[in-house]
């Protein structure tokens, strides 16, 4: 993880989330998949220890809920930390498959059915 403390914004009293409790949850659902950017951006502020733990756990793609369980942290806290990492360009986030009742995705459903059939 290169980079210095170039941006003061992320340098703050560190209580995991800097006291925030209401992140913008929009980017991260329970089954949003996050992956550490490789390479990591050079210019980004140095990650805090909890951020570094997350980066290690998402070297391979991992869902937000799984991250929370493995970190033993509430999802709401993990989401706040992920917001930081996303802003810093340190992770990418893939949203879940969109589900609409009006136009169901038959191909997707068939794929799920086939997969379950192999269990």
């Amino acid at each position: 993880m290169g980079g210095g403390d170039s941006a003061g914004r992320l340098v703050r009293p560190f209580a995991l989330t800097g006291g925030r409790t209401r992140p913008s949850r929009a980017d991260f659902t329970l089954i949003t998949t996050v992956t550490a950017a490789d390479p990591q951006p050079e210019a980004a502020p140095r990650p805090q220890p909890e951020h570094t733990r997350i980066l290690r756990l998402c070297a391979e793609p991992v869902a937000v809920a799984e991250l929370a369980a493995r970190l033993d942290l509430p999802v709401s806290v993990v989401v706040i930390l992920l917001c930081d990492l996303l802003e810093a360009g340190r992770i990418t986030a893939r949203p879940p498959h969109p589900v609409t009742r009006t136009t169901p995705d038959l191909d997707l459903l068939q794929k799920v059915r086939d997969g379950l059939g192999r269990l």
Binding site: L30, I31, D38, P61, A63, R94, H97, V99, R113, G115
Partner: protein, 198 residues
């Protein structure tokens, strides 16, 4: 390595899979965690959400039996259905008072399985109401404790006052194949609902 400052950085390793989820609901002790564990490829994981974080003041927990319990626990498991598609199964928090968590959970779900214990079917009424009101497709899975199913499907349907077309299955939450068949029945229902549109 030099990268563009603005371009999205493509992860070098395995690409992120597409993800979907199904909820496993029903009253306390009905076998939700058991079912998740039976079909999941990982030991069910658990997250605990402090109620204050989830948007509820702990002082508001009037009537909740265990006031010391200030977190809502949620179990989930995972099934990799293909190399680029992963299905997550979420056991809903047993207490229907935690409806605000259910709302979050239900958002974007393919559908739900409502587990029913025929010895106390009323413990699953709230879950049925929840999915019915929100138009979320569901199937009923009667968990036969000790593998026993004393009541025929039609009696269960009547006792639960189910709307027409909601499948009722008899299952054993401890059996992988049985749980798999329940999930397949849900997907079949979704496929059938989608088909007339063609």
């Amino acid at each position: 390595m030099v990268g563009s400052d603005t371009a999205a950085r493509v992860p070098a390793g395995r690409p992120a899979p597409d993800t979907v989820k199904i909820l496993i609901a029903g009253g306390f002790g009905v076998g939700k965690t058991t079912m998740v564990g039976s079909v999941s490829e990982i030991v069910p994981l658990r997250t605990e959400e402090p109620l204050t974080m989830a948007g509820l003041d702990v002082d508001d927990l009037d009537g909740i039996e265990e006031k010391r319990a200030t977190t809502v626990a949620m179990d989930f498991g995972r099934i990799t259905v293909s190399d680029d598609l992963v299905l997550y199964l979420f056991g809903t928090p047993g207490q229907q008072r935690f409806w605000f968590m259910w709302n979050d959970l239900a958002l974007g779900a393919l559908g739900a399985v409502v587990l029913v214990d025929v010895r106390r079917p009323e413990s699953s009424f709230a879950a049925i109401d929840f999915f019915e009101r929100r138009g979320i497709p569901f199937v009923i899975a009667v968990n036969g404790f000790h593998g026993e199913h004393p009541y025929p499907v039609e009696d269960v349907r009547e006792a639960l006052a189910l709307p027409e077309g909601v499948p009722v299955l008899l299952c054993d939450a401890r059996e992988r194949e049985s749980c798999r068949d329940v999930l397949i029945a849900l997907i079949d229902r979704l496929i059938a609902a989608a088909a007339p549109a063609r």
